[in-house]
Amino acid sequence: MQYVPNFLFVVILVIGIGFFTRNIFRLRRNILLGKDVDVSDNRSQRWANMTRIALGQTKMVVRPIPGILHIIVYLGFIIINLEVLEIIIDGIFGTHRVFAGLGGLYDFLIASFEILALLVIVSVTIFWIRRNIIRLKRFFKPEMKGWPKMDGNLILYIELVLMLLFLTMNAADFQLQQLGADHYVQAGSFPVSKYISALFADMSISNLILLERVTWWMHIVGILFFLNYLYYSKHLHILLAFPNTFYGKLTPKGQFKNLESVTNEVKLMMDPSADPFAAPAEDASEPEKFGASDVTDLNWVQLLNAYSCTECGRCTSECPANLTGKKLSPRKIMMDTRDRLEEVGKIMDKNKGEFKEDGKQLLDDYITREELWACTSCNACVEACPVSIDPLSIIMDMRQYLVMEQSAAPSDLNNMMGNIENNGAPWPFNQMDRLNWSKES
């Protein structure tokens, strides 16, 4: 009987981590449904970007208030997780505060965890107030109704509860240490929870032990739950922000990639020795589809972008189209891409890894043409994203599909393109008149 808790702990740990691993593999499979793209260049620049943007949070502080609060929660999350290591060892081997031998360092660590926990509670509370009392505009766009709104609040509740459990556990432990209870070594410094422990002054040792054990278990089970919640939540960014900033765009923002498949065709057209009536070579592959109408037409970095989005809405709040009441919201582009990708993934799960047409696609079923044509390609969304997501590249790929596969540009744009084709300018002026300005007074 003595080893029942250890056994139970290991079972919960294995289930928790196992389930998480399964979802990570699913995530990887879905992302790799995207087209291949070569991002093996400039490794050192990429490492530097990841360090600066993800680890260093440099783009978060562009907006100082949420930026600083976010840094507190982020540091709290990372540093307090050192404590989880101790909890796991204690859980498996039935020890208690196994690192207590670190002495002064241990006191310092526990004290800093506690202070961070308190700061996290304060930050999370302010975040909740911003979302629910102040009701910041960017959290109340049409795409934020239902699950996205609830998801945002749930994350805050979970973080709050985890921190409260952690502090209550320490408070009970501290009280037990004061009372000299067996098994509870004198270790750690409790600058925050000593105040909570005052509430437990009248409790018996057995009740205190019960409280300490219950909060200890709830805390670690809560952490494992949260780990598994990530895949279903916008909160996945805590992991994916790192690869996403690593694989982010390195070229100037204004540089849009030149489609190689088009280059080949253009070269053929310009080649005077090419035979326009030649039959395609025997081994010629299907002509490539231009642009994107579904998630599998996008490249895998764009799909990684979609999973990395934490729906903060900084992109949307800087978007000139959205600011002036147009339907386009760059955040929705990313959310739609993720939702559609998840849908494709689920169809594959049901059909033994095989995708079966479901009569739906990213274009029209998720992202409307009106949204795509509202974009000014100004890059404000790309600049605003704290984790290097590029919604503009998806918009442009979808425009390419509309124009080159469907000839479905707005008629004004067709006129403009017709003019360029005919007379080399977007307006109907004769190319021969191009220098007339130099003779006008």
């Binding site: 562009v62 002036t324 509202a374 890059n379 080159m404 220098l435 130099s438 007074s441």
Partner: protein, 263 residues
């Protein structure tokens, strides 16, 4: 009007065995749009005064393909690009200056992949360089002490990180440079980019140029400076919609410099 503009073409120069220091890429707006033509002429006046050896392609120039690419027509873009590159490479062009950030961005970033490798600068960068080399001098003239706010064109600013050259030039005019609440990296688009210039805006509750003009008006400017012919049109329309055209001028940086020197 001081004197005739001297605008040699690449063909003329080539025929006489000369090679200009720089190709001035005029762009479609600069060639055909009545408002933008004034910017083109102002820039040429400065080039003439500074004795810069330059040439234009004239009737051999064609749209860079930027609006086609941003509209999604990669095919048309690449056709335009390849044609233009053939012309420029035949003239052995090394350096290009343009007053249009859209041409600037496309020539600088998207042409190299298709065989067009040039040093491409925006006219504000070029002017700043002329100033630093002492080839032009600048005095504030009528702009001394005036409140000027500068609108960052997306394809110059965010797209290519050119924020300081135009601002340095405004400061050199001894003008008071005032910033809008969204500026530099966070500058708000005028609404013309991404081929929007050539279509009606999608349904919304406001036009983007009006939103941007309101931000500009908050700075109480006497002049709104721009560095892009499309931004210029959008801001001019915005100022008109607020019925402020009598008190606020929308001018390109090149026009500010040319006017200040009575060119």
């Amino acid at each position: 009007m001081a004197s005739e503009l001297n605008v040699p073409t690449m063909a003329e120069m080539f025929a006489s065995g000369q090679k200009p220091e720089v190709l001035f890429w005029v762009g479609c707006a600069g060639s055909f749009d009545d408002r933008a033509k004034k910017i083109t002429k102002a820039f040429v006046k400065i080039l003439n005064q500074a004795n810069v050896s330059f040439a234009v392609l004239g009737t051999e120039e064609s749209c860079t393909g930027d609006p086609a690419k941003r509209a999604g027509n990669e095919f048309l873009f690449q056709m335009q690009a390849v044609t233009n590159i053939e012309v420029m490479n035949a003239y052995e062009v090394k350096k290009v200056v343009t007053a249009c950030p859209h041409c600037f961005n496309t020539l600088k970033n998207e042409y190299p992949g298709l065989g067009g490798n040039y040093e491409v600068v925006h006219h504000t960068q070029f002017l700043k360089q002329l100033l630093e080399e002492g080839r032009i001098t600048m005095e504030g003239g009528s702009y001394k002490g005036k409140r000027i706010t500068y609108h960052d064109p997306c394809y110059l600013g965010r797209a290519n990180n050119v924020y300081e050259a135009p601002r340095d030039l405004i400061r050199k005019l001894d003008a008071e440079l005032v910033e809008m609440k969204s500026c530099k990296q966070r500058g708000l688009c005028c609404g013309a980019g991404g081929a929007q210039m050539f279509k009606e805006p999608e349904k919304g509750d406001k036009d983007i140029n009006v939103e941007r003009t309101e931000q500009a008006l908050e700075t109480k400017p006497e002049i709104i400076a721009a560095g892009c012919p499309f931004c210029n049109t959008m801001m001019t329309d915005g100022v008109k919609s607020k019925e402020k055209e009598a008190s606020i001028a929308v001018l390109d940086i090149a026009e500010l410099i040319a006017n200040a020197q009575d060119l």
